[in-house]
Amino acid sequence: MVQVDPKDLEDKNTEENVTRHSATSPDKCEEMEQKYGWKLNRWEENDSSILEVDCVFDGEAEFPKSRMDYTGDDDDE
């Protein structure tokens, strides 16, 4: 009999969404997953020329606050 922790259900709900980060190779996806403790759901080739891979993470794969400050100037997307 599997006991379901209500906290797990909460996690699961938020993890039904995904976050996408582009990368130059699949290794970068694993590096991000390990560096930030994210859940890498998959990577896929996107047929672009430089950022050839999309890393798809479960849930909100957002950078820590200090990391966001570091890239804060690049809001030209």
Binding site: T19, E30, E33, K39, E44, E45, D54
Partner: protein, 159 residues
Amino acid sequence: MERQNFQSLEWITQEMMTMSKYIIFRADKGQPHWKGRKLAHTGAGTYILAEHFYSNNKNPKVGDRVTEFVQLEEYVDPEFPGASTHYKKGDWEVTHIEEYTPEVPISKYETVYICYCKYLPIDAPLKPMPPRQISLDSFGGDEKAYKEYMDARSSASVR
């Protein structure tokens, strides 16, 4: 000598902190839809439905579902023509899990999970893929490459 031991310990601790979990979702015995389920690069049939990698304190659970990704032609971004455009909660559900830990403490993965799945279709809504995030990590920390890319994007958007 003590200093050396301390450094080794520090290295081991650091390695263990960054170790991740390798999760294989596979179709259980007797499940349908095995036709056409192939490894694209070899053409061999496979039971594997998905591979995930976790580097946090979360583990796969019974009841988890494998996310499905699709590409709808009318939503394809010409800059990324190969990418999925939508996703949804999938039709394969985890029914039991095997957990393996390596005998050697310093391994790439701290645990390997095999999640056996049953085909239990659900009517889940398709959701659009979120926008792509681009950062220094997209380039593996290569600041020069990152800057060149962002500069090129800025110039292209000005034109």
